[in-house]
């Protein structure tokens, strides 16, 4: 069989699935309109009325989340290293030391530039 045939079949299935879902939903679904349906999906913040300051989130939340990721990733790498600690020997120790110090460089940057001050 020509190897391109399955590729076309996959494409056709993908297209067919999308088309089927849309058409089936339009034909079979009940159509009851209410206010909630016009609002942001699920857990979105209400877009109106606008919050003070142009409706923007304070950037502090974002900073906190990013800082969490920095340390989270560090831990993610520490686990497999801890499991293979004895097999990797000195090499692993030195590498992990370098890795942790580069994470601390990022931390030092955030700290010195005021990223840890809440107000």
């Amino acid at each position: 069989m020509n190897p391109y045939v399955p590729i076309l079949v996959i494409g056709a299935i993908g297209f067919g699935f999308g088309a089927f879902s849309l058409i089936a939903a339009a034909l079979t679904g009940p159509k009851r309109y209410n206010r909630a349906k016009a609002e942001a999906y699920e857990c979105g913040i209400q877009p109106s009325p606008q919050a003070a300051g142009g409706g923007r989130f304070p950037v502090k939340y974002f900073l906190t989340a990013m800082l969490f990721i920095v340390f989270d990733i560090e831990i993610v790498f520490l686990y497999p290293w801890a499991v293979t600690f004895d097999k990797l020997g000195l090499f692993g120790l030195v590498e992990m030391f370098i890795f942790i110090s580069t994470v601390f460089v990022a931390y030092a940057y955030v700290w010195r530039r005021g990223g840890l001050e809440w107000d």
Binding site: P3, Y4, P6, I7, I10, V59, T84, K87, L88, G89, L90, F91, G92, T102, V105, A106, A108, Y109, W111, R112, R113
Partner: protein
């Protein structure tokens, strides 16, 4: 049994030096006073690049396909491209050193009180230097990486800082932020394609390395559907990065919105890195399956060359014109990739230097032509600039002639090498289309030159500012190399030919 890996530190050192310099740059941002930072960052960055280049020069005749287990293969083409990227980064940083192009505080709302205050206090976003170096380290890793995980990591390391830097422009902030967001969203989308393609190729060959892929293709027996889909998806990721049609649509917007020195650096160095990786993947990993991908990549090369040349004609903004011109050049370089021979690789190496330096020089000149509101990129307001400042206009003309491939410039030699490689490999129609596209492109390059020299000066406030010393050095270096490689191409071309090999 797990053992600690053996790394060839001498061969990896150039990349590691750049990374260490970037981390040092972050520490400078954290602990040094604002007033000293810009100067210190500049010195550190340039020193780091010089040291890395020196180390690269020292190991130029060595090579190993096992530099970092099976993930990195340092060989002739890899070393040449790393050197090219370092040279382009050096010149690029000379342009970036002019802090006037960057927002004083990128996080401030455009037009807000905070922004005005930051501007008044003389602050500067000197993070741009470590960001550039991080991008450079990714660019140096990209063309030498030989497994798909390392390729993907390198792709992300080179892309992420560029997304950020595209949004740092001091003037026309909204356009710049729009460019950064577009670049980020489309770039992330194309990275996903690349990763999915790598996963499919792993499904096909059971190996992440390019050599394993070649063995699997030779051995046969795998499911060809995975192979073909994998090639297609990986190609989409790569073609996006090099800006080939139909994955080019981000190029004009990002080139226009990003700060001009960043545009120059991005256009020059990203092309060298991405084409190096493309060449390695197709040459080393997918050579055995060439009849599956060669026809479609050839078609893309044809469309890219013609589209770039034709679309540039209707543009009125110099940065957009250069963006479409870079799309056309991506088409020429794809022609070299499709040639799949040693002279194609040599041509690609030479072209990346010639095109890269001319691009940096051209964007360097664009930074100089300003009115009271900043850079003037509308080409209609450049009328008659050749009479006001003949030297700058002549330099710009030199770079444009090099893009057009007029003899006695580096661009001619590069195009000639690429077309003869394509001829050698039997792709005559690519040569014909390439020459045709060059002829179309000559039209809009010459039109700019005519506007500069043979039109009456438009009566407005556009003027050429006195270039800062480092910008002057950058433009001067680019111009010298462009002429030198046009007059005596063998200086670099022989080197490129000696280095045009991959170690499998």
């Amino acid at each position: 049994m797990l053992t600690s890996p053996k790394l060839d530190y001498a061969l990896l050192a150039p990349i590691l030096i750049i990374l260490a310099t970037a981390i040092l740059g972050v520490l400078v941002e954290a602990f040094i006073k604002q007033a000293l930072r810009a100067r210190l960052q500049l010195t550190i960055s340039l020193a780091g690049i010089v040291i890395a280049f020196e180390q690269l020069y020292r190991v130029r005749n060595q090579g190993s396909s096992m530099a970092a287990i099976t993930s990195v293969s340092i060989d002739g083409a890899g070393i040449f491209l790393q050197g090219t990227i370092l040279v382009l980064a050096f010149v690029g940083i000379l342009l970036i050193a002019d802090q006037d192009h960057f927002a004083p505080q990128a996080s401030a709302l455009p037009g807000s009180i905070e922004e005005a205050a930051a501007l008044e206090s003389g602050r500067a976003q000197t993070e741009v230097f470590p960001l550039t170096l991080f991008a450079v380290s990714g660019m140096m890793l990209f063309p030498v990486a030989t497994d798909f995980i390392t390729l993907f990591v390198a792709l992300e390391v080179l892309s992420l800082p560029l997304y950020l830097m595209a949004g740092l422009s001091r003037r026309r902030r909204l356009l710049s932020q729009e460019a950064a967001l577009k670049y980020f969203l489309l770039g992330a989308y194309s990275s996903a394609f690349f990763l999915f393609g790598a996963a499919l190729l792993y499904g096909y060959s059971g190996s992440l390395s390019l050599n394993g892929l070649t063995d699997a293709i030779h051995g046969g027996g795998g499911n060809d559907v995975f192979l073909l889909l994998g090639i297609a998806f990986v190609s989409v990721g790569l073609l996006f990065k090099v800006g080939a049609v139909p994955f080019h649509s981000w190029t004009p917007d990002v080139y226009q919105g990003a700060p001009t020195p960043i545009t120059g650096f991005m256009a020059a160095a990203t092309k060298a890195a991405a084409f190096g990786a493309t060449m390695r993947i197709f040459y080393v990993g997918l050579d055995a399956a060439q009849w599956s991908w060669k026809p479609i990549i050839s078609v893309i090369a044809v469309v890219t060359m013609l589209f770039g040349a034709i679309a540039a004609i209707s543009q009125r903004d110099i940065k957009r014109i250069l963006a479409f011109s870079s799309i056309a050049h991506a088409g020429f370089l794809l022609t070299a990739v499709v040639s799949l021979n040693q002279s194609g690789l040599a041509a690609l190496l030479f072209y990346s230097v010639a095109y890269g330096l001319a691009t940096l020089g051209a964007f360097g000149v664009v930074t100089l032509i300003r009115d009271s509101a900043g850079e003037v990129s509308d080409i209609n307001r450049w009328l008659g600039l050749g009479k006001k400042s003949p030297l700058i206009a002549a330099t710009m003309s030199l770079f444009l002639l090099s893009f057009a491939g007029i003899p006695l410039t580096s661009g001619f030699v590069g195009k000639f090498a690429i077309f003869s490689a394509a001829y050698e490999s039997g792709n005559i129609y690519l040569v014909v289309v390439g020459v045709l596209a060059s002829a179309i492109a000559v039209f809009f390059y010459l039109r700019i030159i005519l506007m500069l020299f043979f039109a009456d000066a438009s009566n407005d406030s556009v003027s050429v500012v006195i270039p800062p010393l480092l910008t002057r050095v950058a433009i001067f270096l680019s111009a010298i190399v462009t002429i030198l490689l046009g007059l005596a191409p063998s200086i670099l071309f022989d080197v490129a030919q000696n280095f045009a090999y991959f170690i499998r």
